[in-house]
Each structure stands twice: as C-alpha cells, then as structure tokens.
C-alpha cells in the first residue's frame, strides 16, 4: 500500500483504530478522523511511518463534514468505520433512537462519501470499504434499527459501486459478526455473558478489530483489483448471535 493515501473514519477506537494501524504498517499514508481529538492523537502515535494526519470532525454535523471533505488530500482509499450501536427492543423504538443510529451509520456516512466525490478527492482506481455488519441479514433482539442502518448502507454501497465503476473505483462491504469493541461492551451487556456467547462460535471466539483490519487492508490493496460490489462476511463461523 506504499504511496497510497487512505482516509479512515471512526479512527479514534475499535475497528477504525486498528484499520489505521494496519494501513500505516503496510506503508500507506493515513488520514484519521473521528470526533475526539485526544483519541485521534493516540491513534496517530501508534502509527508506523510518516506523513499521517488527523482531522477531528463530527460527521453528523454538516459543517464539520464539509470542512473535513475540503481538508482531506486526494485519496486512494476510504474505510468508513464510524458507527454506533444501541440495543432497544422494538416496543421502545423512538424517533430519537432511529435518528441517532441512522444519522451516523447511514446518513453521515453517505453524505461524507457524496462530499468527497463532489470535491473530486478520489483518485482513479481508489477503493472504498464500508464496515457494515452481519446484523444486516441476521436478526438479534434489540437490534432492529442498527440492523436496518447497516442493511441500508449495504444497499447504498452496491449502487455506489455501480456508479463509480467507470472510474475504476471499487466499493466493497465487510460484514463482521461480533467483534470485541466498546460497541458491544459499552451497552450494559454482561461481559461474562458475552464470553459465554463467543464460545458458541465455531472458531470459539468473537472477532478482534485486527481481524477486520486485515480484510480492509486486502480490499484497499491492488490484490483485490477485481472485487467490487461485494459484501464479505467475516464471522469466525458464527452468525452474529448474542442472546
């Protein structure tokens, strides 16, 4: 990935941070973004190589999103990792809950992509990766809106891939099952229960952010030159089941 410049959203923690670390380790210049500046600096400090930069932005605020798109250099790849999860049973779904999840997981992600295209920030042959989720096709209690937001993202990504194919820009989605990040540990779920659940996965564990980062690096590299419009499950053999 030497000579490539890659934008990583959600780079302050979890999957985004590991994606950034992996891209830098493979020689790419990485542009980090997320809301929290201190956490971005921490990610920046863990990157190998030079020339990396960070741009703090709240993608749900259109002014900040536009400023980010204006500031980023020309890109050879994007990994959309910014996202949130919040488990709410269907009976308690509120407009706020829908707006929070769809607002970040879907709208902000799509609108950032739009801005980057309008500002012609993507080089010919660039690769765009969306971190979606197995939840898009596999139901789990309390996950209705999260699942819907990831399903919407996948449908969007397929259209995006079609429209950008003429410029040889590739678009692919990664659909991980459960991955150890604060997305699953920060929701009040019992860690002991999660540790039990991961044993039910055929490979006896949930994923680590680095598992997702490895696949993202492959999708960003020229090794995946004939892949576009694909949705790749990354699951340890599991289905994304939790409870």
């Amino acid at each position: 990935m030497k000579g490539k410049t890659i934008l990583v959203t959600g780079a302050s923690s979890g999957i985004g941070r590991q994606v950034a670390i992996r891209c830098a380790a493979r020689g790419a210049r990485v542009v980090l973004t997320a809301r929290r500046e201190e956490a971005l600096q921490e990610t920046l400090r863990s990157l190998e190589g030079e020339g990396h930069l960070y741009i703090p932005a709240d993608l749900t605020k259109s002014g900040e999103l536009e400023a980010l798109a204006a500031q980023v250099p020309e890109l050879d790849g994007i990994v959309h990792c910014a996202g949130m999860s919040e488990r709410v049973p269907v009976k308690l779904i509120s407009k706020d809950h829908i707006e929070r999840l769809m607002g970040l997981n879907f709208s902000a992600t799509v609108l950032l992509q739009t801005e980057l295209l309008k500002k012609r920030k993507l080089n010919k042959g660039a690769s765009i990766v969306f971190v979606a989720s197995r939840a898009a096709s596999y139901p789990s209690p309390g996950n209705a809106i999260y699942s819907a937001s990831k399903g919407a993202l996948i449908s969007y990504a397929k259209c995006l891939g079609l429209e950008l194919a003429g410029q040889k820009i590739r678009v692919n989605c990664i659909c991980p099952a459960m991955v150890w990040t604060d997305l699953i540990t920060g929701q009040g779920l019992d860690e002991a229960e999660l540790r039990e659940a991961e044993k039910r996965y055929p490979l006896k564990r949930f994923g680590e952010p680095s598992d997702v980062a490895n696949l993202a690096a492959f999708l960003l590299s020229d090794e995946s030159a004939w892949m576009t419009g694909s949705c790749i499950d990354l699951t340890g053999g599991g289905e994304g089941t939790l409870i």
Partner: protein, 76 residues
C-alpha cells in the same frame, strides 16, 4: 420519576404480565416472561427516562421493582 410512575413504566415494558400485578415488591426476575430482552428493555427505559446507563449485571443484582427503582434513582 416517582416510584408510581416508574412502576407504571416498568409494567409497560412487559407483554404478558397484567400491569396490576406489578408493585414495588414484585420479584421481577421471577416473572414467567422475564428474559434477556427484558433486561434490554430496562436498559432502554433507564437511558430514555434518566439518561443513565445501567448494566445487565446491575439489573440482576436487584431483586424487586422497588430495589431497581432505588438503585437507578440513587446510583445507576
């Protein structure tokens, strides 16, 4: 939130239990319909009404609806 309002909101989370059965002394984890999903409902209720995050472990540590109310009001 008053204890009465909390009990009413708690009863609303349930699907099969007669709301009249729910009091501050109800051992909620012994209800027939109590499940992992019920825990998620309580987490969502506490987030919406109190803007606090309670964990499944904390919910499990409470025995009655009154215990749960006191825990959320004072510590959660």
């Amino acid at each position: 939130m008053t204890i009465d309002a909390f009990i009413a909101a708690f009863a609303d989370l349930l699907d099969e239990t007669d709301p009249a059965e729910i009091t501050a002394d109800t051992y909620f984890q012994e209800l027939d319909e109590w499940s992992s999903l019920s825990n998620l409902s309580v987490i969502a209720l506490v987030k919406t009404e109190y803007d606090k995050t309670i964990t499944v472990k904390e919910i499990r540590a409470c025995e009655t609806v009154g215990d749960l109310y006191n825990y959320i009001e004072n510590e959660g």
